[in-house]
């Protein structure tokens, strides 16, 4: 088991992306990444906070960074890229004394600095390592063609997120390849899916998610693997809305990459949570796996 790392689940992990949280926890436990929940963590503020005010946004995130510091730790991992960018941005901006002073005035406990955050994907690749992941595979995903979609903010801007190539990231590709899957070249890896516009402007999401589903289909993918609750929701849950808006008939499963890892690592079905997704990946999955035998 690795040394314990602080785990910041993010708000959607309790609701609309429950299965992402469950499969993440199960995969990490399986490969020796010991996650400890940040006690009584609060919302980082996500997009609504940073579009309202940067000091407010930093304070909401910094409350959690200080909770991590209170745990005696310097690093938190989170599965949600939006949480990730807010935590990292808060830490970065509060390195400047003038800004830190303003943000700390809003907090009960001021943030002492020095806590950073990284994605679960980064922790899997850098702390566990591809070799160890490959060695843990029990059911290789042979015959499954996967397009890896990273979403717009996990790797951008590169100076802030500091992980993987910002135009053609390969971390997820490498992890799922280690799981035995066949990764198809996907040209829109970092193109935005519509983010949080699902409710106020569903037409925008329909168009952007539609382009991504089209590209995945052209690439010959059986599934699109994702690493972000909003991307997953926009491409999967809203796939019906996309079809209606564009006159299309997509029926592509969009599992979280941790769910696919769960299959390869023989994790219990309840923890993988395929039944929680809109387009069920199981038929496509078993067809691909049996076809490969």
């Amino acid at each position: 088991m690795s040394e314990a790392i602080a785990y910041y689940p993010g708000c959607s992990g309790l609701g609309t992306s429950k299965e992402y949280d469950a499969s993440t926890r199960a995969v990490c436990a399986k490969v020796g990444l010991s996650l400890v929940d940040v006690p009584d963590w609060s919302c980082c503020g996500s997009t609504p906070a940073h579009t309202t005010d940067h000091t407010l946004s930093a304070a909401l995130s910094a409350r959690n960074l200080q909770l991590v510091a209170d745990m005696g730790m310097k690093l938190a991992v989170t599965p949600c890229p939006s949480c990730l960018t807010n935590l990292r941005t808060a830490n970065h901006r509060m390195e400047k004394a003038a800004f830190a002073e303003k943000a700390n005035r809003l907090l009960d406990e001021p943030y002492s600095g020095g806590v950073n955050a990284q994605s679960v994907l980064q922790a899997l690749v850098e702390t566990v390592g591809l070799d160890a992941l490959k060695a843990a595979v029990r059911t290789p995903l042979a015959g499954l063609k996967v397009a890896c979609y990273y979403g717009c903010i996990m790797n951008r801007p590169p100076e802030l997120m500091a992980f993987d190539d910002c135009e053609n990231p390969m971390a997820m590709d490498n992890v799922l390849a280690a799981m035995g899957a066949e990764i198809v070249p996907f040209p829109l890896k970092v193109e935005c899916c519509g983010a949080s516009y699902g409710i106020p402007r569903g037409d925008i999401v329909a168009r952007l998610a539609g382009k991504l589903l089209e590209a995945a289909t052209l690439a010959g993918a059986d599934m699109v693997a994702v690493a972000c609750p909003l991307c997953q929701m926009n491409l999967d849950l809203r796939q019906g809305q996309v079809n209606r808006a564009l006159g299309a008939s997509y029926r592509i499963p969009v599992p979280y990459f941790t769910q696919l890892m769960g299959v390869a690592l023989n994790i219990a079905d309840a923890d993988i949570g395929f039944d929680k997704l809109n387009v069920d990946p199981r038929p496509v999955l078993s067809k691909a796996l049996t076809g490969a035998q």
Partner: protein, 652 residues
């Protein structure tokens, strides 16, 4: 001594923030100063005449001028005092412009500082000794490094001027980048047709020695007397026997190697003549791909060569050339387009550089001049050209403009229409830079007569969709995002310093900028000279430029060499180090620390001593700080002089 001090107003440049009259008056109190005055423009004719007159009337034996930087006018004033009958080194300058008046507006503080600077100049002058330069003979041969169009022009002009020329070229053929071009703007002349005759002239000129497939290994010596070691790399073919017939290329079984001359579009054989008009037209074996070298089994070329020219056991050879001047004409290379991942270069075969596209257009290229997509060999209909790829881009650390891409892109759009009449070219640009003669008319022709669609905006990404490449850009004039479904994407990659340029610069002991381009002596007035005597520049090695500019600089460099060689002897600068043999203990530390290898060990009455090679010493003074005995001193900047300056400053 009888010292005269002249404090210059420099119009309002100095007088605006320094009270020059006060400076002059105060300096009369300094030891041995017998005359002081302020003057409007010391460097002007009346100014200089004033100095000369004062020397004669007041019987001055030394002069201090307080004015601009010595880099500006030290030679001017030295010549002036020499005209008045003094030794030119009985002269000092105090820089009260760049070091005082130009950096602050506090008149009182500036005046005080100027007084201090004159004080220390006087102390230095009191300890100056007259110095005379030595003369040395020069070798009237010139080496030109780089056989592109700039180097070729320089070689021909020098040779026609009667000089012996050694031309060193890294590739197996001369011609440089110009030899890779299909046509040239704005005349759409065939590049090989206009360059070819010059290349042949070089090969046949009795005064030009050509070392192709060679590199400069090391350079010793100084202006007029350089010894250059040239490494002639092994070609594994005896070029005295090779006729360039090409039989070896036809039969070579190793056919799938990246073709460097053709910008890696299409494969080539391990034994290779780059193109039909190559000069020298001789074959070269690439030992990294040749089966005889890699596997030890083949030998086909040796069997088919009609003159038996193949030599698998050839080794690199070092040749020493003694020359009096060197011209660097090493050209440029292209920005690595793989550094822009959003354009997909390196991942998608139909995204290529402009130079690779030239090879596709060229009749002597890998496709015989038929424009074909590298992916499937089909003729493209929609060709998208993207300008400013790795130029004008701070985020890639390439903020400069490469100067010729707007022009060659227009040319390529025009040629595309000629080659494929039903094609449509798109050019994404930020600005059109076409300043030369007939240049703007040429770019307008591409738009007005050849139907090229010019879109003002950059491209954000290029990605495949089916068998097309989607180019997503902006049209800022129409105010929106645009997409083009391209069959082929051509990137106008920026020009960079040639690979290996900084290393060569260090051998030549010339400066280079942060991008590797060689530094000229003065950006406006001395574009082909360097700060190293005897080394000149020509062409894109100094900064990206087009063919007429490169040719012009080639001729300019030749003119500088011919001027240098117009005398039989050159004067050496006497501001160099000298060893006091009585104090020298022969430790050799100065020999080790001299960056120019200008000090040698000699024997004097059975003891080791150091001796300065007068003509190589550059007067940097490193040896004087190194010497534990104070035995080696820099003339005109002795330890005593420097200490006197420090004393004067501290005690004022």
């Amino acid at each position: 001594m009888r010292i005269g001090v002249f404090v210059c107003h420099c119009g309002s440049n100095i007088e605006g923030t320094v009270d020059t009259a006060v400076v002059a008056r105060t300096s009369l109190d300094f030891p041995e100063v017998v005359y002081a005055t302020d003057t409007m423009y010391a460097c002007s004719e009346p100014g200089q005449d004033g100095i000369i007159q004062a020397i004669k009337e007041k019987h001055l034996t030394g002069v201090v001028v307080a004015s601009c930087t010595p880099r500006m006018h030290e030679p001017t004033f030295r010549r002036a005092v020499e005209r008045a009958g003094l030794n030119r080194f009985m002269f000092e300058m105090a820089n009260i412009r760049e070091h005082v008046s130009w950096i602050g507006k506090d008149r009182e503080a500036n005046t005080n500082k100027s007084v201090d600077l004159v004080r220390i100049a006087v102390e230095k002058l009191r300890r100056d000794a007259p110095l005379s330069p030595s003369k040395f003979s020069i070798n009237k041969r010139v080496m030109i490094i780089g056989g592109g169009v700039a180097g070729i022009q320089a070689a021909l002009d020098c040779a026609d001027g009667g000089l012996e020329v050694v031309l060193v070229e890294r590739e197996s053929t001369i011609g440089g980048k110009m030899a890779k071009l299909d046509k040239t703007f704005p005349t759409v002349d065939c590049s090989s047709c206009i360059l070819g005759p010059k290349m042949v002239d070089v090969a046949q000129h009795d005064k030009i020695t050509l070392h192709a497939y060679s590199e400069v290994d090391s350079i010793g010596g100084y202006v007029g007397n350089f010894q250059v070691k040239v490494k002639k790399r092994a070609t594994y073919v005896d070029w005295t026997l090779c006729t360039g017939c090409g039989a070896c290329m036809e039969k070579c079984p190793s056919k799938k190697n990246p073709d460097k001359f053709n910008e890696k579009i299409g494969p080539t054989t391990s034994i290779n003549i780059p193109f039909p008009q190559a000069i020298p037209k001789k074959a070269v074996i690439d030992p990294t791909t040749c089966r005889q070298f890699v596997k030890g089994k083949c030998g086909v070329c040796a069997k088919v060569c009609p003159t038996g020219a193949i030599r698998y056991d050839m080794a690199d050879e070092i040749v020493t050339e003694d020359v009096g001047a060197i011209v660097a004409a090493t050209g440029y290379d292209l920005f690595d387009i793989r550094k822009i991942p959003e354009y997909g270069a390196g991942r998608y075969p139909d995204v290529i550089t402009s130079l690779a596209y030239e090879r596709l257009l060229s009749a002597s290229g890998p496709t015989g001049g038929h424009v074909k997509r590298p992916s499937d060999g089909k003729e493209p209909k929609n060709v998208v050209f993207i300008q400013c790829v790795g130029s004008r881009d701070k985020s890639l650390d390439r903020p400069y403009c490469s100067g010729f891409c707007c022009m060659y892109t227009a040319k390529q759009a025009i040629l595309t229409k000629d080659h494929i009449p039903d094609s449509q070219s798109y050019v994404f640009y930020m600005d059109i830079r076409s300043p030369g003669k007939m240049y703007d008319e040429f770019t307008r022709r591409a738009m007005e007569e050849y139907g090229a669609r010019y879109i003002r905006g950059r491209v954000a990404m290029v990605y495949p969709k089916g068998d097309k490449m989607i180019v997503r850009g902006a049209d800022t004039l129409a105010g929106t995002q645009v997409e083009v479904e391209a069959d082929l994407v051509v990137l106008a990659a920026g020009a960079e310093a040639a690979v290996g340029a900084p290393q060569l610069a260090e051998k030549l002991r010339i400066s280079y900028d942060r991008y590797g381009f060689f530094m000229e002596s003065h950006p406006k007035l001395k574009p082909v000279e360097t700060n190293t005597a005897g080394v000149y520049l020509a062409g894109s090695c100094q900064g990206p430029k087009d063919i007429p500019q490169s040719v012009g600089q080639g001729s300019a460099a030749a003119a500088k060499v011919l001027a240098l060689f117009s005398k039989d002897q050159l004067e050496s600068d006497p501001q160099i180090s000298r060893v006091d043999i009585k104090r020298c203990v022969g430790c050799g530390k100065c020999i080790m620390t001299c960056p120019f290898q200008a000090i040698k060990e000699v024997e004097f009455r059975g003891q080791k001593k150091a001796e300065v090679i007068e003509t190589v010493c550059q007067g940097c003074g490193i040896c004087t700080s190194t010497c534990p005995q104070g035995a080696i001193q820099l003339s005109h900047f002795t330890d005593n002089q420097i200490l006197a300056e420090v004393n004067a400053l501290c005690q004022s």
